[in-house]
Subunit: 338 residues, 2 copies
């Protein structure tokens, strides 16, 4: 009977990260304390600027993944708190540098750090958080963790450079786009998940499974992010629509619409995204072309594919609340599209 109720509830309720949040709540508080502690500096601008971004929140999705993965692996120590903080530091440093690179004025609905304190401070405080993260990792003392996270950081930077190169290039294909998002986004999700098995000292197969989980969850997450940037849903959430369009970024919705379009439509994409000659109404027309060619719908379909791989990767772990929460997080990352 319990099963019937569960199924009913699933049908009623949209997937959410509430279960993941609830399960990791106590741990996340410890992670937050560590973050606040370790971002301190005698140079007052550093904690000020870092707090603006870190305290403002964000979902803490990456640290939650580490915490839940460690729990699922039966870990009972407290190293995962410090390592989850490391991952959030790397993520935050990346956001600071991203905002400089993208010349963003908003981040998480607030004025971005670079628009308040300037690009210079954002670059340097990003460097500080990044270094601090490696200090924290060194204090943890696992060379295996250091190898995973230093590698993830390099690949992440490579992905950011690749994204910069492909910007404004409408010839960019889906394979290159996948390279970009695997590197700049999914790699850190993969590392976050894998570390759960590493701290719990689990066999290589479980590390690998969690890496696959994180990688594919990260790809699905970024696909939906890129889709939302053109979607009506995003507009109803009070977020801005069209940032990628205005930046000339080549994301999957554009790639699909470009490849499925006729000559006239391709000329439109070249004018707006390559020549960056954008006029009133262009974003609306871009969205209409995506609608016409099913580009947003199929971006979600692609995300479902990676989501399935992520879910299946957890197949080797015993059922339980942590595993269920991680799987629901995959569903959430995709279903937030609607």
């Amino acid at each position: 009977m319990g099963v019937v109720v569960d199924l009913d509830r699933k049908r009623d309720k949209k997937p959410s990260i509430d279960a993941l949040v609830a399960l990791t709540e106590e741990d996340i508080q410890k992670v937050n304390r560590l973050i606040m502690e370790r971002m301190q500096s005698d140079v007052a601008l550093i904690p000020q600027l870092a707090a603006h971004l870190i305290a403002a929140g964000g979902k803490r999705l990456r640290p939650m993944i580490t915490l839940a993965a460690a729990r699922m692996c039966g870990y009972e120590g407290d190293r995962h708190h410090g390592l989850a903080a490391c991952i959030e530091f790397i993520h935050t440093a990346t956001l600071l540098h991203d905002d400089v690179v993208d010349e963003s004025e908003l981040r998480r609905g607030k004025e971005s750090a670079n628009s308040i304190w300037g690009n210079k401070a954002s670059v340097l405080v990003g460097d500080f958080l990044f270094s601090r993260s490696f200090e924290l990792m060194t204090a943890d003392g696992s060379l295996q963790v250091l190898a995973i996270l230093s590698r993830a950081s390099s690949v992440l930077a490579e992905g950011e450079v690749l994204q910069l190169i492909t910007a404004n290039d409408t010839e960019t294909g889906e394979a290159t786009y996948l390279d970009v998002i695997s590197s700049k986004t999914a790699q850190l999700f993969a590392a976050a998940a894998r570390i759960g098995a590493v701290v719990a000292d689990r066999p290589a197969a479980e590390e690998e499974a969690l890496e696959t989980f994180g990688m594919n969850l990260g790809i699905a997450f970024q696909l939906i992010d890129d889709m939302l940037d053109y979607s009506a849903k995003q507009a109803t959430l009070g977020k801005t629509v069209g940032d990628d369009f205005f930046d000339g970024k080549i994301t999957l919705p554009v790639i699909l619409a470009f490849r499925r379009g006729n000559d006239e439509e391709r000329a439109f994409w070249r004018r707006t995204l390559e020549d960056m000659d954008q006029n009133d109404g262009d974003l609306e027309y871009a969205r209409a072309l995506m609608e016409k060619h099913g580009a947003l719908r199929d971006t979600v379909e692609r995300a479902r594919h990676y989501g399935s791989i992520a879910r299946d990767a957890l197949g080797i772990f015993k059922d339980g609340p942590d595993k269920a929460a991680l799987i629901e997080a995959v569903d959430f990352c995709i279903e937030r599209a609607f």
Copy 2:
């Protein structure tokens, strides 16, 4: 008799880093090969941009210090090559971010990376080199080295932020200035030197001595750099004079001239460096005020003080060519003022 000849030679010859270069020549070639190898990436822009800066050279002073310090400590392995490459990577990442922060158009007499490839690429390739450096360190496998270099990187970033804050603030005192240069420059020299003792597994007293050597050499080095920015010597070397003045940076020559100046002179410093209201002839007048108050001369005097501490720190090591070369490097860093 040998001693007499040596003394004569010393009197004849200006101190140089030739001895250090000669002693570390073979090792530096190995370091250079590692650098070229480890800055590769499938993302072609990364090695292109990195090569522009790294291959262009610079003196490789920091890696040479690690190599000579390791030799002086009797080290016979090859770990110091990888670690010297790490230090050069961190230094290069910092230069890339510095040029973005300073909006520099020239670096080492060539067009700077940010003026060729843009600020965005410089920020991201800097991040890549920084991450790569931690990958290399992790491969070396010493948690002690990781602790020293991750700490040095954090402090370095703190120093850069502090420098940013003190820019345009003519009230900045000598103590704060010393904090800035100790953090942003000397910390990495200190780490570079200390690692020589760490790889050779020498006792704590020798680690500490090398750290003191590097720290004080680094301070002297930066003092002379800041002095040269206002000096006629720099102009004869074909380098630009006045970069710090045009950036509104508060360095020791300014601090001394400001503190020793009268009301009218202080008004000049406030107008040019705080309000950044600079006219033709202002740099020349700034240099005249420094001359009047002995600000450049006394900046060199301060550098001599730190140079002496650096030299004395090596007192506990046995005499030999490596020690002699390191000591001559201190003299060189100071005497290049003339």
